[in-house]
């Protein structure tokens, strides 16, 4: 399936902006693996969360075609 992926902060810079991905996997865990392989610099971050439909998603969450998927590097608000 195709998924649109948005990213913020340093993740946005590493990934070069929002991307559309032809995704062969099923879960957040699979997506993380695909991203780390495609963009090894993401491995060096202190944390890398994935939000699905505006909630932090754990690894076993399954992805569907029209999900809002966002890559969240370490937050630093305030």
């Amino acid at each position: 399936m195709k998924i649109q992926i948005k990213a913020y902060g340093i993740a946005r810079e590493i990934m070069g902006g929002s991307i559309e991905l032809e995704f062969a996997g099923t879960t957040v865990h699979d997506l993380r693996h695909v991203l780390l392989v495609a963009h090894p610099q993401l491995i060096g971050l202190s944390s890398l969360l994935i939000a699905v439909n505006q909630n932090y998603a754990s690894d076993e969450v399954k992805l569907a075609e029209h999900d809002e998927v966002v890559i969240i590097p370490p937050v630093s608000g305030g």
């Binding site: 902060g9 971050l45 909630n55 966002v70 630093s76 608000g77 305030g78």
Partner: protein
């Protein structure tokens, strides 16, 4: 009121929003841009937010706080975009009947906000830049610019 804004924050307005006639105490936290970090001069900061989720996550934090402490009013405003030293990045204000609760709730909200809300800050120095907290300390020290 939860607000993510590119405009300069009106602290007085945030305080008024959080105030209540039945409350005797208002505690306000104001986060401002420091002129130094890691012993270097900060030229400016850049904040970006995943806005819709930032609002939703802040609301969750407020909901928990309102369960734990008898809040009579509250308001959170976070600035995004380019900020110079001295400018206000975030204001949290809560009002309660008694002061102890106001201090505790306000501190809880800002602590949680800094830990969970998807807002991202880049420090821009004269000789480089750094996304705050992005890398473990040791690597951050040897970042490229």
């Amino acid at each position: 009121m939860i607000k993510i804004t590119e405009k300069s924050i009106d602290v007085q307005k945030v305080i008024e929003t959080a105030s209540s006639l039945g409350a005797g105490a208002v505690n306000v936290f104001i986060g401002t841009v420091r002129n130094t970090a890691h012993n270097k001069n900060v030229v400016w900061l850049e904040y970006e937010a995943y806005e819709s989720m930032a609002v939703a996550e802040t609301r969750k934090i407020i909901d928990v706080a309102a369960h734990r402490w008898p809040l009579m009013g509250w308001a959170v405003s976070h600035r995004i975009g380019t900020l110079k030293p001295g400018e206000t990045a975030v204001v949290v204000a809560v009002s309660t009947k008694h002061r102890k609760e106001a201090f505790e709730a306000c501190q809880y909200i800002i602590d949680q906000l800094k830990e969970h809300v998807p807002i991202f800050k880049k420090e821009v120095f004269e000789d480089g830049e750094e996304w705050v907290g992005a890398r473990p300390q040791a690597q951050a020290a040897t970042r490229s610019n």
